[in-house]
């Protein structure tokens, strides 16, 4: 624990906070988007906002893999488990996400479906080996970080001739989502767009893809990016690096998380993914809508391991719930507390929109970690 404790030291946090306060220009606002849910979680978990001057505003982006998974894909997963009677395996917090009809995989399990929580794709392969008479589907979700283990599982399944194993692939890509937010900063009929001054770039995702794929953000959109680690001091120091770039009028891709991330990324992992998967022309993101070239699918050479093809899964288009402000919150146009549903009908026990679904979502973090801020300004909707 010593290793992480060093990145949580409060004396260093205070010193960094003083430096940030000294260096910011009081005459402007710094609107910085942390793309990743991991950062959002750290910001609220450690109370990082307490250290930030009021004109440094953190916008919580869509980088929470559970949050952005559209409901239609969970409908598909429930269909696999319930109607096709497969053993459906997936990672922890995806199991409680409500699909259409408010039903989650956990509820499907309570009704008799065989839904199992796994900690890695190796567990899913093991289940397939141990249950040769059953069909096993791994419900694969996540950004570039969780994609290589899925690719390796597919290759391994072919090697072992595990014909009862397949993958329902929902892996999504970070750079196209950032591109989409920069291209469509405004939601229809909503208030005016927010100008994002810079990005705190993903940490785990970047360990796989490296820093290069973000270069378009600086080149095309003239926004600075700092790849930031997930520990609280990483977040604070990266914020300082962004403030400095903005003050100096620079827009470069800088890397704070050098202890893990290189410019090239993890080539071996990239190759494994490239062997098994290819780009999807478009994919629906909960809260963002259809985003072109933003997800991966399994190549036809591995079609027998593609659950979508194997079970001929229908494309289910789901619309977000009426009144839900997630699409504006993900773009920084609104705060969770601006949403009419927040805290009234939408809370972590009963999430209505993407940002409330996982503890990494902006609304869930506001609700779980930040409610006392609202308690200081009484509001009838917050109880």
């Amino acid at each position: 624990m010593k290793y992480v404790d060093d990145f949580r030291r409060r004396d260093l946090a205070r010193a960094l906070a003083q430096t940030i306060a000294r260096e910011i220009r009081p005459d402007r606002i710094y609107q910085l988007m942390e793309f990743c849910g991991g950062h959002t979680h750290a910001i609220f978990r450690y109370g990082i906002q307490n250290f930030m001057p009021s004109n440094v505003q953190l916008i919580h982006g869509p980088g929470c893999p559970v949050c952005v998974l559209p409901m239609g894909r969970i409908d598909n997963a429930i269909e696999l488990a319930r109607d096709h009677k497969v053993i459906l395996c997936s990672y922890g917090d995806v199991l409680r996400v409500p699909a259409s009809g408010r039903k989650s995989l956990l509820q499907a399990r309570a009704e008799g479906a065989d839904v199992r929580l796994v900690y890695s794709t190796l567990d899913a392969l093991k289940i397939a080996r141990e249950n040769p008479q059953r069909t096993v589907v791994f419900f694969a979700i996540g950004f570039e970080t969780t994609t290589p283990p899925t690719a390796v599982a597919i290759e391994q399944a072919r090697k072992e001739n595990l014909t009862n194993f397949s993958v329902f692939c929902n892996h999504v890509l970070t750079p196209p989502a950032i591109h989409h937010i920069l291209e469509t900063p405004q939601v229809e009929n909503e208030s005016k767009p927010v100008n994002i001054d810079g990005f705190l770039g993903p940490s785990h995702v970047s360990s796989i893809i490296g820093t290069r794929p973000y270069e378009f953000i600086a080149e095309q959109y003239h926004k600075p990016v700092v790849i930031a680690g997930f520990e609280p001091l990483d977040v604070m120091y990266s914020t300082l690096m962004l403030v400095r770039q903005i003050n100096e009028g620079r827009c470069a891709i800088e890397n704070e998380y050098t202890r893990v991330v290189s410019s090239e990324g993890n080539r071996k992992a990239q190759n494994r993914v490239a062997e098994v998967m290819e780009l999807r022309l478009e994919f629906e993101w909960r809260g963002l809508g259809i985003v072109p070239n933003s997800a991966l699918q399994i190549k036809s050479a591995y079609a027998e391991f593609d659950a979508e093809k194997r079970f001929n899964l229908p494309a289910v288009r789901s619309s977000d719930i009426k009144g839900c402000a997630c699409s504006s919150i993900l773009r920084g146009v609104k705060k969770p507390t601006d949403c009419k549903l927040f805290g009234i009908v939408c809370n972590p026990e009963n999430p209505m929109g993407s940002c409330m679904v996982s503890s990494e979502g902006a609304c869930a973090a506001y609700w779980s970690y930040g409610r006392f801020r609202q308690s200081q300004v009484p509001r009838s909707s917050v109880t």
Binding site: Y46, L95, I141, P232, S368, Y369, S375
Partner: protein, 349 residues
């Protein structure tokens, strides 16, 4: 009931036998199971009377009663098993009123096919736990359900106890200014269980903290009878217990994360799994809320007891009509420590 070797010509073949439906049918087989497993190990005068109830005299005063069901998986884990847990847990629920626990009852729901040897192991563990705590199991019940209708064994225990005259502990009594104490490191039990679930191949030395806390409570009550609230943080962990107390007392709480004791191994596993130790279960810890002027005396009494050696003052009760539990994080920021939402599930990345 004395052991009558003539009634059962063959003794139970415990190493090879499994629980069968006949063991719950009320006939000779059930009688033999009771005699050769339950009575043999729980042995005490009240149980030996073999009535449908246990009869005993009580002194005048306030009595408390509590019941709890135990459905844990895995049944055996480092630091205990479902048997010891079912004794400790109910003793603790009784003791959180400040009471001295007197007697326990135990109800077993056994699944057809459950190995008799495992049942005996569990019963022996319960007998040891009850003996060590000096709280005998004086009445019980056994049912057998069809294979597939249970998960091996479910145990329900009920306890009664008697509260000393000058003690009045209740969860709506926390007052602004009160001190919040915890008796030791949090999350040990939950992490020990999680690390031993079959699909998690972690090798850890973490043991469940499962323990009977009534002697610790007795020492605390002796040191300062005017304790306001006591509660043991089981499911939902410390965070849930503090939210319950804040809600019931209509107060807020302010914690200092640096003061909350967590074992490094528990912290490390929580980091790996994306869990927060504040929400992970304990089975041998308690939270105490008392007036500020009693806090150091109670802390001293706790630390002098083997089950409270790592006790700490972790925060204070504040005025807050919202009933929020707030915390200054180890990092120096502030956050709310909310109720647990749903089941704690590992995060993806």
């Amino acid at each position: 009931m004395s052991t009558d070797s003539g009634r059962f010509p063959l003794r139970l073949n415990i190493p090879g036998a499994v629980v069968e439906m006949r063991h719950g049918s009320g006939g000779r087989s059930m009688s033999q199971l009771i005699e050769e497993i339950f009575l043999k190990h729980f042995d005490n005068e009240l149980l030996r009377a073999a009535n449908d109830q246990a009869a005993f005299n009580v002194s005048t005063g306030r009595m408390v009663m509590s019941t709890d069901g135990y459905v844990i998986s895995p049944l055996f884990f480092p630091g205990g098993d479902i048997g010891s847990l079912s004794v400790h847990g109910t003793i603790n629920d009784v003791a959180m009123s400040g009471a001295r626990p007197l007697y326990l009852s135990a109800g077993f729901i056994l699944e057809e096919g459950f190995p008799m040897a495992d049942l005996e192991k569990i019963v022996i563990s319960m007998a040891h736990a009850a003996h060590d705590a000096s709280v005998p199991i004086v009445t019980g019940d056994t049912k057998v359900v069809n294979r597939g209708k249970g998960d091996g064994v479910f145990i329900t225990t009920t306890g009664i106890g008697i509260v000393p005259h000058n003690v009045m502990i209740s969860s709506e009594q926390a007052q602004p200014g009160d001190a919040i104490l915890v008796s030791g490191t949090i999350g040990d039990h939950g992490i020990a269980i999680m690390a031993n679930r079959e699909n998690l191949d972690f090798e850890t030395t973490i043991k469940s903290d499962s323990a009977a806390l009534h002697t610790l409570v007795a020492d605390m009550v002796t040191a300062a009878p005017a304790i306001h609230c006591l509660r043991d943080p089981t499911r939902g962990g410390l965070a849930t217990v503090l939210n319950e107390l804040a809600y019931q007392s209509h107060v807020g709480m302010k914690l200092d994360e640096q003061m909350i004791p967590v074992k490094p191994a528990v912290q490390a596993l929580c980091e790996l799994l994306g869990l927060d130790p504040l929400y992970v279960a304990c089975e041998g810890r308690l939270v105490c809320i008392c007036a500020q002027q009693d806090a150091s005396r109670i802390l001293e009494a706790m630390r002098a007891h083997p089950l409270g050696s790592e006790a700490a003052i972790i925060g204070e009760v504040i005025e807050d009509t919202h009933g929020f539990v707030q915390m200054e994080t180890c990092f120096g920021g502030n956050r709310v420590v909310d109720w647990l939402a749903g089941e704690p599930l590992p995060r993806i990345c």
